[in-house]
């Protein structure tokens, strides 16, 4: 991945309208030299996966603050695998209690970034894992 720019889809699954975090992360990744597509609000897992495939991204980063992460994050991972895109790195963030993180990781979410995470940590994580 040394030459090609990393491509990231920042997505808002579910009905949650809080996108301050998603947009700040998107901007930070763009400022770090990545190509970033932001889906906007209210995306179904199907829409997110289809955008990920169409945009040929390396990473899908999802943000949920409504508590629906336990349902929607794994659905995206499973759909990506079904479509043969299981190699896309899936990460997430939002209002996510610590105890919910191990089951999300088990479901295939590579990393979960909680409140207070410095932007540089997310940038570095992606650079090291793509």
């Amino acid at each position: 991945m040394s030459e090609k720019r990393i491509r990231v889809l920042v997505a808002k699954p579910g009905l949650d309208g809080h996108d301050r975090g998603a947009k700040v992360i998107a901007q930070a990744l763009r400022d770090a030299g990545m190509e970033v597509v932001y889906t906007g609000l209210r995306q179904t897992p199907e829409q997110i996966v289809s955008a990920a495939l169409q945009e040929d991204v390396n990473v899908v980063g999802m943000s949920i603050l409504s508590g629906a992460h336990g349902t929607l994050f794994p659905e995206v991972v499973n759909l990506l695998r079904e479509k043969g895109a299981g190699d896309i790195l899936v990460i997430g963030g939002g209002i996510i209690p610590e105890e919910d993180i191990p089951p999300l990781k088990e479901a295939g979410v590579a990393e979960v970034f909680g409140p207070g995470t410095p932007l540089a940590n997310v940038v570095k994580y992606i650079q090291e894992h793509v």
């Binding site: 009905l15 947009k23 906007g40 609000l41 209210r42 209690p97 409140p115 207070g116 410095p118 932007l119």
Partner: protein, 556 residues
């Protein structure tokens, strides 16, 4: 407020003093190269009457309860009655939320504030495919009047006031509330409360929009008109800066964008043929109380003054109540940290104190665990007790506007007013708030990004996050919304739908459709429909068919 001679004398004294200051700063250099507020106003070492040279006491301040209401909307404020202590609550099923409401009332809370789940806020029934995973998560699920009846079981709606955080489908939820109150034996004139009903800020930053702006503004004007005649003590809108600030705006932007939205609603209602003094007294506002303590106090004061002038000068309002900005405040959710969560209690207390010193009419204090989950019973109780300490123990409620006349607070109030008017001018030039949605989104996003960069590069300290960190165990006892709530709600809804008179439901939905297609006020048909258990999703489905849906522009 001072004669020219007095000001010259003070200025001369300050010049002498400035030499001493310079000498001191050589030995004790300032901690920062520049001190500034969150809105970017540079802060001087000290403030004097010279900073207020242009100020006119009668014109700019006056007395509490008098135009321009800088010092408050009530002559005696908290000497008469403390603010309404109103904790925002709701999760899971109507039964669970009913229990939380009754717990809060028993603990001394004085008004209810209801949170709805996202499907409800976006006008979907719980059996809609987009409701998956969201039912009961951020608030209570309300599909029909049956859920509303459970929600307010044993709570007399003629005796409590209820604030409902509902926007796009506000008219339908208000119709359910009216129907529920009438079933309990109360009249429409006896109920008190607020619907948020502020759709413009949903487009800007909160995201629970349904219809495009034009039909949304019509629905809002319908509600203003209906309530001015039928539900006279209902607050028909809560024009909200809270979410604008949560999304990242500065304090000055919070005032400006909120009041620009307010201007758009007033213009729409006047255009719909209403008289400004018939509906403006029931407009209410909702602000954030953030961390920058002194700037926040000045913000509330400036907002009152700007709105009073706008209503008087721009819209020719005559009634005092049309010009006085009454507001609810919530402490800043975004300031809560997941790290060392107990420390959030202190943050919330200072934020709440700024709201009280700024003259708020009602207040929600956040709970310490809300960076991680919905609050548990214990954390909610501490949050409510924080308000009790401010109200009953520390003596700040015995005098009105105690910081009025502070050289610094008045300077900041003036600066915020000026900056807010600048922004309102820009928004006017773009054609008003609805046309300026993307402009406001861009401004908010830029401010949010700068705020995060300031934390990341440690220009801004966040205790426990970028300074004074420590190793800690995960917090225990977080509230969890059971996933079975969704299944239970869907089963209940299906059963209710099957038991209704289907022909009657179809006829009522047809009536909603015809009213939507005409110029009629929609409130009466909403009330007729919900009384027969026509669901929120069914009514909003008809509105979606008639008016189409809003498509968000992506701005970042």
């Amino acid at each position: 407020m001072y004669t020219k001679d007095e000001l010259d004398k003070i200025a001369a004294t300050k010049e002498v003093w400035a030499a001493k200051l310079a000498a001191t700063e050589k030995k004790r250099p300032p901690r920062e190269a520049n001190f500034a507020t969150d809105s970017g106003f540079e802060i001087d070492t000290v403030y004097t009457p010279n900073n207020l040279a242009e100020m006119d006491y009668e014109r700019d301040l006056g007395l509490p309860g008098e135009f321009p209401y800088t010092r408050g909307v009530q002559p005696n404020l908290y000497r008469g009655r403390l603010w309404t202590m109103r904790q925002y609550a709701g999760f899971g099923s109507a039964e669970e939320t009913n229990q939380r409401f009754r717990y809060l009332l028993e603990q001394g809370q004085t008004g209810l504030s209801c949170a709805f789940d996202l499907p409800t806020q976006i006008g979907y029934d719980s059996d809609h495919s987009l409701a998956r995973g969201e039912i009961g998560k951020v608030g209570v699920a309300i599909d029909s009047l049956a859920d509303m009846e459970t929600l307010f079981d044993q709570i007399p709606l003629g005796k409590v006031s209820t604030s409902m955080t509902i926007n796009a489908p506000a008219g339908v939820l208000l119709a359910m509330y009216i129907a529920c109150a009438e079933k309990q034996g109360f009249t429409k004139a006896q109920i008190n409360g607020t619907i948020q009903n502020d759709v413009i800020k949903e487009y800007i930053c909160r995201g629970t929009y349904i219809l495009p702006p034009e039909p949304s503004m019509r629905l809002i004007s319908n509600i203003f008109e209906y309530c001015s005649k039928e539900v006279p003590t209902w607050n028909t809108i809560s024009i909200s800066g809270y979410h604008i600030r949560e999304a990242g705006s500065t304090a000055a932007q919070e005032i400006a964008f909120t009041l620009a939205d307010g201007i758009a609603y007033v213009e729409a209602a006047i255009k719909a043929g209403l008289n400004v003094d018939d509906f403006a007294p029931r407009l209410s506002f909702f602000f954030n109380a953030h961390l920058n303590f002194l700037e926040e106090i000045a913000k509330f004061r400036a907002a009152r003054r700007v709105w009073a002038k706008v209503m008087k000068e721009r819209f020719g309002a005559k009634k005092a109540k049309s010009m006085s900005l009454r507001f609810h405040t919530q402490t800043a959710g975004v300031s809560l940290t997941a790290q060392q969560p107990m420390v959030n209690i202190m943050r919330t207390a200072y934020e709440a104190l700024s709201a009280v010193l700024g003259g708020t009419q009602s207040l929600h204090t956040n709970s310490y665990d809300e960076a991680l989950a919905l609050p548990c019973d214990e954390s909610v109780m501490i949050a409510l007790r924080t308000q009790h300490i401010i109200g009953y123990e520390i003596g700040v409620c015995d005098v009105v506007d105690p910081l009025g006349g502070s050289y610094y607070i008045e300077s900041l109030t003036n600066a915020l007013e000026e900056k807010a008017m600048d922004y309102i001018g820009k928004i006017d030039a773009l054609g008003g708030a609805v046309k300026a949605i993307e402009y406001m989104q861009k401004e908010i996003h830029n401010a949010a990004y700068q705020y995060q960069l300031a934390i990341d590069n440690k220009k801004k300290t966040v205790v426990g996050v970028n300074k004074f960190q420590m190793k800690e165990k995960p917090i225990e006892g977080l509230l969890k919304v059971d996933l079975s709530v969704g299944d239970h709600q869907v089963a209940k809804l299906k059963k209710m739908k099957a038991e209704r008179d289907q022909a009657k439901v179809a006829a009522l939905l047809q009536a909603v459709k015809e009213a939507a297609q005409s110029d009629a006020n929609l409130m009466p048909v909403f009330i007729d429909a919900v009384k027969e258990y026509v669901t929120l999703g069914e009514i909003c489905g008809v509105l979606r068919d008639v008016f189409g849906e809003y498509k968000q522009q992506i701005v970042f």
